[in-house]
Amino acid sequence: MADSIQWIQHVELYVSSSATPSQQVASVDAVATLLKNDLLTLEALVREMEMYLTTTDSIIRCRGILLLGELLAQLTLKPLDSTSIHSLIGFFTERLADWKALRGAIVGCLALLRRKSDVGRVTDSEAKAVAQSYLQNLQVQSLGQHDRKLSFQLMECLLDRYAGAMADLGDNLVYGICEAIDGEKDPQCLLLVFHIVESLAQLSPGPLANFAEDLFEILGCYFPIHFTHPKGEDDDVKREELARALMLAFASTPLFEPFSIPLLLEKLSSSLPSAKVESFKYLSYCTAKYGPERMAKHAEALWASLKDTTYLSPQSMLSMEPESMSRMNFQESDVMTEAFVLLQEVIRQYGEFISLIIGDNDINAFLISLNQYKGFDDIPLQVKQKLHAVGHILSACAKASAAMCNKVFESFFPFLMDGLGLSVAQPSQNNSYLDEECFSLAKFKFGPLYLCIELIAACKSLTLSLYNCTSIHDFPHQRWCSLLSSFSESLVKAFVSMLRSNVADNEQSAYVYCGVKGLQILATFPGSFTPVSKSVNDNIFLELVSIITSDSNKTFEWTSALKALVEIGFSIDKCLDSEKAASFESTVVEKIVSLISSLDSAIPLSLRLQAAFEIGATRKDFMLRVVRGLDESIDTNFSAVFDHGNHKSDELTIKLLDTYSQKVLPWFLEIGGSEEVQLNFALRIWDKIENFRALNLSPPEFTSISYQDLLGATMTAMKKAVASCSEESQEIIINKASGVLFSSTVFGSMGFKSGSSILKEEGLQQTQNYGNSSGRDEWLTSLFASVVVALRPQTGISNRKMILQLFITSLLNGHVPSAHALGSLVNKLPLETKGIKSSRSLSLNEALDMIFHSFVGTCRDDSTSGNDGSGVNINSLRLNTSRIQLEFNTVIGLAWIGKGLLMRGHEKVKDITMTLLSFLTLDCEAGVSKQFQNLAEVLDEEGVHQLMKCAGDAFHIIMSDSGECLNRMYHATVRPLYKQRFFSTIMPILLSLVVKSESSFVRSMLYRAFAHVVSDTPLTAILGEAKKLFPILLECLSTLSKDVSDKGIIYSVLLVISGILLDKNGQEAAVENASSIVNQLIELTAYPHMMAVRETAIQCLVAVSELPHARVYPLRTKVLRTISKALDDPKRIVRQEAVRCRQAWASIASRSIHF
């Protein structure tokens, strides 16, 4: 037993009125813990608390009972024996009469009633006693908000959990509840009240019957839910929540029907749109709940109000998009949308409703009146709105069921056909109608046409729903179906003639839209249910395809025809209709595919390709067919480029390849499955190249721009194709590729003797020849590089050594894709080669040795001092006056290799960075220059500077994300946080070099490298070092701002600074440098070469103004003076920022507007 003194203290604390609420909560928790752990029994507690529970001081008694109640509320999971429960519930039931200490009693009852049966539950009779006491003693409406809420919760709990016991109470209960809820206004309580009514209505031998009217009278006042104080403190209860609860209460029993429906119908005439929306919502829900018998007598009233909302005064707006101006594209108001929902619900519940609509005089008169308008533009807007509404009503009726559909069709369809002037087609004329103009456009009145299409569309969706759920065999015998089939042929004719009309003005485009839509609907009826015969169906396909193939000038017609075909394709795929699929393939797909390669087509290639891709995307085997067409076309065009130097083919091939890499390959990747397409594509290209080699053909004028574009497009397509293949397929491709590559005479004679360096003088001569002369070899190497870039790490590559050599050679000749390939290779090569060590396999270290070795070259004699084998020795690079370019290529190559190593987290990246850094500091005339003597000799000053700049930019290559290679898409090995790691290793080195450097040019180059590294490092890493970095960043800005061409770098550094300034930790770092930051930023606000720099500088200044007042106040005058100049900036955006900045700085001190 716990120390009784201690818990009694808690009780005293709780009961006394002097304790704070948090202390009280703590003491409840403390005692509850004791009880839970059985350190204190409930019995002992109650006995000890006797005085508090029975004292005549009502305040203390109230606190005491409340404590007991709250303790019980915490013990809901602790098993209690039935005697305790019995005596406790008895106590609380009795206490409900004690209005001075009511809250504790309610809390206690609630806690006990909510207990689950497995831990001891209040019995039904006890619950009944509670309810009786409740009804007898509680004057709910005279209580405060919180107590009311509790008592409603208690009633809710009783009704939900002890429904049986409550039902026995009969009228008394209903009466009591009516009394309790009458006049409630608090949203939270109302939510409970609505739920109580709902539960009450569900009690089994409904005691409600006599009181339904009274109860509804109370409930009805709340409709529609409307908050008079929209921004009250009770924001936690949403209007929607309340409205929904009230709706459930309304619909809880059919007994409410005589009262609720008239009320709702009456509210429909309200001028508040929200009330109307609510009424329709409630009506739909109640209709579903009350059932058809009860709703039948309201049918006429419902129809009257529905007609009023949708037809007589429709609230819809013609959508204002230019392309839909000529269509019936209406934006319905919420009221209308809800009205249509109700219409659907009523029809679904009560089929007879439809006779009201069919027999409606207004609608019939409207249909007749439609015949007076001819074209689309003759119809005034109001009539269009009505037309839209009638279309919607009819289609809602027809969609409901087959029987309804029959009725609607019987009553309206023949009339509409009359209006269109169509008759049942004579079967004699078979196909000829497609060739002659049977109808003149003027004959078709838009009104009937629109309604007719709406009806057919409704039929189709009905068919689809029937098709999916049941197997109705008498389908074709349905009246509507036979009606539709008998007219189908003439309908198709009519639609076709609308498309054939050559006028493309605004009015006609409405007809074109209708024609296409009509054909599309008729062709998308599922399978055997189709009302059109196969030949008619084929004619529809032919007609649509002929639009696609004939003319792209009528863009609207063209795009809608394509869209219709795509829809038809999808519907065929969904309905598994093999017969239709076959005819679709033979008429549509074949034709479209033949378009790809047709030379004399009037349609631009990009449109043809778009059509082919979209049609293909409807189904996989269609897409495969399209791919075949694309392949053939690429083949012929390639040959045209290589054989005849046909420039036009260049562009065509580029477009074809782009379609491949941007649309087709991603599509296949998305649907998954086989990778045949990708593999075949890659192999085909290599076949092609092999053939050209054999014929010794090469593209003419390979320096021209379009040729470069062609190569680029081919490389991208190749990379994408290879990247989406599995390891096995990649192996096939790489083997094929290297076969083609190394069989070539040029590469064969290059002297790739195993292990020996190719960089002997003659070898070099050869490679240079290769670099300059043969575009074909550039093709080969570039394509091969793209294959290598996209390989997966696990893919086995044979001949690695040769491949490596090849890339090194071509890299030194300035071939950048080779650098990408080298980077990818070192990124993905395995660390160790397993199994027997053959000359063909290669581990990473060997590869690196080879690479460094090649860069080191042959001139060992004069470099003995510097080369200790740890890295690359610049000194020993072959330096000839003719080979300045070589140094640049080396730097670029090293950058990509370094990137590859860095991403996988290999330590050799250090050697590469050190090498790059030594290039950077090349200019140090005084100190280390001995190492670079001969370099300095061969390169003039300008050249050296260029080289240093290039080395600085190499850091950009290393740090930035590349789309070309070494990214996730091309399966690069990426170690997490590699950028952060590089940042933290390189930073100290760079900083110390900056300190050491004496030449200003070297320093500026170091800053350049620094800027690249910093701007690509994630901000979080920089924030940690911000204090140290600030001075350098500022120095960096001032150095870089001297050269116009560096504006991009300045901008990215400025972004880093603004990132730091916006961060809390960064601001702390900025405080110390505030004055120098401001000085530098002020200078940049006048940076003339880039608007974004000025804008960001001013934004940074705004951020600086947030720093501690004492720091920034002295700078205020200076900033304001600068900003008043920026107010006159040539660019508007900068001026806007300046106004904001000016305000920020002006308001940090006393008001003074003199600046």
């Binding site: 003339p1088 070469h1089 880039m1090 608007m1091 008043s1124 100049k1125 107010l1127 006159d1128 040539p1130 660019k1131 508007r1132 001026r1135 806007q1136 106004v1139 904001r1140 000016r1142 305000q1143 002006a1146 008001r1151 507007i1153």
Partner: protein, 158 residues
């Protein structure tokens, strides 16, 4: 000052949609964008009315068409329309407009603030007061007035 609101129930109009300026894809870094009507209007449209929680734009006190600007001659004239003829807030509104433009335009500008002809009982007096440098400066020495102005301007520094 009169107790109670001058115009207790003003007509509130809809805000015009913010016209976004077309941004050409290729931006000429060195091209000059002149200060135009819309830019001036953007500066002042969100100024709050001194007695209502609505912006001057919503109350149609100012409109884009009522702004004349000549960037070359560094001249701008804003003509505003008080909601009621006897509005004693007209001077405060005018002061707000002047202060806001002084803070937003380059110092080379001359700002002219006027009440639209025929919309105010003491039109001439208000115009004179608003364009008198000394009186504006004096008004801005008055802490109460400055507080009021700052409160009205606050929403316009979005």
């Amino acid at each position: 000052m009169v107790s109670g609101l001058i115009n207790a129930n003003p007509v509130v109009y809809e805000k015009k949609e913010r016209r976004s300026r077309s941004t050409p894809t290729h931006v000429d870094e060195y091209a000059v964008e002149l200060i135009d009507q819309l830019e001036i209007f953007d500066h002042i449209r969100d100024i709050k009315d001194p007695e209502h929680p609505y912006s001057l734009e919503e109350l149609k006190v100012i409109s884009e068409d009522a702004i004349e600007v000549d960037d070359k001659r560094s001249y701008v004239r804003v003509t505003f329309t008080p909601t009621v003829e006897h509005c004693s807030m007209a001077t405060v509104i005018g002061l707000c407009l002047r202060v806001k433009l002084m803070r937003s335009l380059p110092p080379r500008y001359k700002v002219d603030i006027r009440v639209a002809p025929g919309t105010h009982a003491t039109e001439a007096a208000v115009n004179k007061q608003l364009n008198d440098k000394e009186r504006v400066a004096a008004a801005l020495e008055n802490p109460n007035l400055v507080d009021m102005v700052d409160e009205c301007l606050a929403p316009s520094y979005g």
